[in-house]
Symmetry: C2
Subunit: 202 residues, 2 copies
């Protein structure tokens, strides 16, 4: 059985849980203490030298890291990943946008708040920049979704799953989504596509 | 003919130039002024709403953004992208590692220095954290390469191209690579794989 090293509060972990659920794949979930070095033990670093969750352990013991690489692996060959060369590259474009322009700005403030992380001078100084860049990323999404139902190919793909994970809880990081009507309509569409589970479900 | 919106100093742009060169694909290169808003004009935002280079314009006018999505697109079906489902996911794992854990820490200080960007209090405060996380990423690479010739599958893939781009110029951002012997040996191997071009070649 697949084993997922995870943390229930993590949007990156949720992407993998949601895809496993959509694909009907059974898995064992291992909750990791990400606040007190649980991912920095020698045992875990042998599985993922970068010391992060989610990490997926395959049945032969091979470990795969990086949430968006994991959901690509899981979805490959399913309707959640298009077949065409250009559409697959477009899915990747949005997955890289998510990890570079969206997650560090939209997810990180949520982590600081919900995990009661000490607001060091470095974090305090970084917050306004993250806020601006997070809103910029939401604006790019809103513009793209104005005339589209989903990010790529007019059906739900892992691009939607990846961007849904932290966008639907952006308010927990202090983001106000009221100025992004196309994003809000898309969030509702993604949540209405069965099978769906909330981020709180392990 | 493919058209690449690019900046010669950009490692992200270099990834695409290097892959186009390796694959023998002719292209037109458009040098963008990234220091003075050249990627924020209405014309360019119509091509890439996220306002970044590299952006690849295909012959039908479709534009593809995000360097690692572009090199995936170019390499798909070539020896630079493995066939197997797991190996492809492992390539993706390193591409996401590059954009999340490596590039923001290793490339950004180089950009600040070489483009004479004003060191605002925010950037000054962020630099020590980027330095530490950049060295952490180089350490992860060094550990992985200790017993391997290339990142995935024992032959050069786009995972190597992506990580080579900013690692081989990390010293320009103030990083000392002398403590990473496996990385240095790998850098030499990548540069020795023909056909190769330097980052300075358009």
């Amino acid at each position: 059985m697949l084993r997922l090293y995870d943390n229930l509060s993590s949007g990156n972990g949720y992407k993998v849980r949601l895809m496993l659920h959509k694909l009907g794949i059974a898995f064992e979930r291992v909750e990791m203490d990400i606040d007190h070095g649980g991912t920095r033990t020698p045992d875990f670093l042998a599985k993922n030298p970068n010391g992060r969750i989610p990490t997926l352990e395959l049945e032969d013991g091979t470990c795969l890291a990086e949430s968006n690489a994991i959901i690509w692996y899981l979805a490959d060959g399913s309707p959640y990943l298009p077949d065409g060369r250009l559409e697959r590259a477009q899915v990747l474009q949005w997955l890289f946008f998510e990890q570079y322009s969206h997650e560090p700005n939209v997810a990180t403030p949520r982590y600081w708040i919900t995990h009661h992380v000490e607001m060091t001078p470095e974090r305090t100084m970084a917050l306004p920049g993250k806020r601006k860049q997070g809103y910029d990323a939401l604006g790019v999404m809103d513009g793209h979704l104005k005339e589209r139902r989903f990010f790529v190919g007019e059906r739900l793909s892992i691009a939607d799953v990846a961007l849904y994970a932290y966008t639907h809880v952006a308010h927990e990081g202090g983001f106000d989504l009221s100025g992004f009507p196309a994003v809000n309509a898309w969030l509702a569409r993604v949540a209405a596509e069965p099978p769906h589970i909330p981020i709180t479900q392990g």
